[in-house]
Every structure is written in C-alpha cells, then in structure tokens.
C-alpha cells in the first residue's frame, strides 16, 4: 500500500508543467501582463520626450525597471496561486518542497523570459539601444528572468498565508531585487565596445545562486506554515 513519491526532478517538471498549463488556459501573462508591459515601455517617450540620445541613455534602466515591476505581477499571477485545499493536496502527495519551489520558479522563469523578449524587442526598437555585443544578452536576459522568478516565488510563498496576501510581495521583492536590477541594467549598459560586462554578469549569477539557496533552505518551513 505504501508508495514512494516520484523523483525530485520529475516532481519539479510536474509542478512547472502544471503552472504553465494553467497559465496557457487562462492567458493572464500573454494577454494582460505582456501587452501592458509593452505599453509601459511605449509610454515613456510621451513622458520624457522623443529625444533619441536621451531615450538611448535611459533605455536599459527603464526596460529593466519595467521588467522588475511586471515581473512581480507574473510571480503573483492568479494561475500560480493555490487554494487551501490544493495546498493540503500538495502536502499529502509527498511533494518535496524544494522540488515545488524550483518547479514554480521554473514556470515563472519561462513566463518572465517571454515577457523580457517581447518587451525587450519593443524597447530596442524604440530606444535605439546599442546591442553591438548582443551575445552577452544570452546570459543576461535569462539570468534576470531566473533571479526575478526565484525572488518572486520566494516572496509569494512567504506571503501565501498572510491576510494581506500578494499585496506585500512588491515590498519584499523591490529591495531584494536591487542587485539583479543593478546587474542587468549595468550589463546592458556595458554592451558598448570597450566596457567590461563580466562583473555585472557575475553579480547576477551570485544573486541567482543566493536566491536559489534561500529557496532551498526555506521551502520546507514555508510549506509547513501555510
């Protein structure tokens, strides 16, 4: 009668697949968050003027600020939330909380990456951002998506059982996202020939690792306090 739970990697994939299927059916990120993110990027020239050198200079910072703000919405999207009955079920399935954390973060990472790419294309076209050394972005864009997803998942887990719920998530995410935002903005800014991008990429990797370790260490206690 006893049954061993599935392996940790299989459980991680199952959670990620569940979250992505739920999102695919509802389309909260695809039809609401991404279009509004693109609109936010489009609106900036209306506020600061259409002077292209100015837009090119502030473009990377604005882009990553939009990614951070809308990344919070992606982390606390309705399709990532669980009812108390669903949380009970997850506990009784013998799901490894660490697998659950990484599965949820993986789904959010994929959605955030999609957001970054679509909104990034708008920002590059609109702000004339210099991408002379664009191959570095293959590290920077997913690195930022993973970091924000880990942070958002952690913050959503912490606030899941609070009466204030997701409303507190931005307060947790904003200060802790500073290293990620700094690394991503500076890395994009350093794409010009002659600037060194490596320290910023390393800062991002360090931030991602720290968030992953925090998620591993807190996964079980956070599941038990839900």
């Amino acid at each position: 009668m006893s049954r061993e739970a599935g392996g940790g990697f299989a459980q991680t994939l199952a959670i990620a697949r569940r979250d992505l299927l739920r999102e695919q059916r509802v389309g909260e990120v695809a039809w609401i968050t991404i279009p509004f993110g693109a609109i936010a990027v489009l609106l900036v020239p209306l506020a600061v003027g259409t002077d292209l050198p100015t837009l090119t200079r502030i473009g990377p910072g604005l882009y990553w600020a939009v990614v951070l703000l809308f990344g919070v919405f992606i982390a606390v999207r309705k399709t990532a939330a669980e009812t108390p009955a669903q949380r009970d079920l997850i506990s009784l399935l013998g799901l490894d909380p660490v697998a659950g954390f990484f599965g949820r973060a993986a789904a959010s990472s994929i959605l955030l990456l999609g957001f970054e790419l679509v909104v990034g294309a708008v920002a590059v076209a609109l702000y004339n951002i210099d991408l002379a050394r664009w191959p570095w972005m293959i590290l920077v864009v997913p690195g930022a998506a993973i970091g924000l997803a880990l942070l958002g998942t952690l913050a959503a887990s912490i606030t899941a059982n609070l009466s204030t719920g997701p409303a507190l998530v931005p307060f947790l995410v904003a200060p802790l996202a500073v290293p990620l935002l700094l690394a991503a903005t500076q890395a994009m800014d350093s794409l010009r020939p002659g600037d060194s991008i490596l320290p910023w990429v390393l800062l991002m990797v360090a931030a991602d690792l720290a968030l992953a370790i925090a998620g591993v260490l807190t996964a079980r206690p956070l599941q038990e306090t839900r």
Partner: protein, 207 residues
C-alpha cells in the same frame, strides 16, 4: 492511528479539546457532529496538516509532530468538502499531475477515471464539471494513490446513487488492504452501513 488527549487550535480559538481517538488496521470509523464541532479540524490533524496544540499521537507509525510525518503524508488520502482539483486543467491532467508527483504508472490515470465512470469526461476541464463529477475525480485520484489511511469529509455530498457505490468501494478496498478510514458525515445511515463503529464530536470533544 492513535491520538491521546489531543487539542488543536485555529488562530486563538481551540477547536478540538482533549480528544482520544484511534483507528485500527482494517477498520473504518464514522465521525459525526454538528456544524462547528471540529470534525474537519480533527481530520486535518490526523492528516498531519495541522500540528496539535497539546497531546500526542501517531499516524501510520509516525509521530504527529516529528519529521517522519513528511514521509507518512504520501500514504494518507484526504478528500475534503472543497475540491482540490485545478479548475483550468482537465480531469486527466489533474490526475496525471498527481501520478507524476507520487510516481504512479502513467496508465493508472485512465483506469482510475474509468473506475469512477469518468472515462468520457477525461478531457473536460475541472471548472466545466459539476461538483459531483469533481468529487468522483477526487475518488479516482485516491483509487490511484491507494492510501493506507483514508480521510473522507462528507463523502456522500452531491453524489448520485452510482457514485455512492464508489465511496463504498474505496473504503472497503482500503480496509481490506490493511488500511483504515475515517468518514466525517451528517449522513448517519450511509456511514453507519460502511463503518464498524462511530463516534460523536461535541464542542470539540468526543462524547
């Protein structure tokens, strides 16, 4: 499972007070009580989802508050009165998710759905199913998981006569395999026919 002088609180309110309760192997026990008597809280306590405020207990050989409870949970099946299905997913996807997490064979999903009469509704999203169908799907899930301890909260609610037979089947199958079951219900007639004994919860205490 056995509870000794166990109390449980939700927030600052004590819901369950000094309860002694045991379920032996091969035994199904009915649990009755008025609304607010603490039946659901007691089920969550037995499922190790709620730590006791006082008292001791063992579930499937593991202490209620020890780290062993994490392993034991995978052998406990709980069907509450609020469905735990993901409404955006189909019934099959809901069960496939569970099968992957618990390590059940992939083929067990369709067999479980067929056993509760939902083979034809496997591709229907849970949100598009009636409450009774969602309950059936939850029974299918537990038939697939085959828990050693089955906890059912109002199992007969919203079920038609054919589905009531599913409740009888899953309870008898669990007990015949050496497990135990606790059924919380207001439907005394049906539960008394399924269980070997019943207990009454009054104001959080067993009478």
């Amino acid at each position: 499972m056995e509870l000794r002088d166990v109390s449980a609180r939700i927030g600052v309110t004590t819901i369950v007070r000094g309860v002694d309760f045991a379920v032996e192997a091969n035994e199904a026990v009915g649990l009755f009580g008025a609304n607010g008597a603490g039946k659901t809280t007691l089920l969550r306590l037995i499922a190790t989802l709620l730590p006791p405020a006082a008292g001791t207990g063992k579930v499937l050989g593991s202490d209620l508050v020890g780290p062993g409870r994490y392993r034991v949970r995978a052998r406990i099946g709980l069907i509450g009165h609020v469905p735990s299905l993901y409404p955006e997913l189909t019934l099959r996807e809901n069960l496939e998710f569970v099968a992957t997490v618990v390590g059940s064979p992939a083929g067990s999903v369709d067999a479980a759905l067929a056993s509760v009469g939902l083979a034809g509704a496997a591709t229907r999203r849970a949100r598009d199913c009636s409450y009774g169908m969602q309950r059936r799907a939850e029974f299918a899930r537990e038939l697939m998981r085959r828990p050693a301890l089955l906890l059912l909260d109002e199992p007969h609610t919203a079920l038609d006569d054919s589905a009531v037979a599913i409740v009888e089947h899953i309870v008898s199958a669990t007990c015949a395999a050496g497990g135990g079951a606790v059924l919380v219900s207001h439907d005394r007639g049906r539960v008394e026919a399924l269980t070997s004994r019943t207990v009454e919860l009054v104001g959080g205490s067993i009478r």
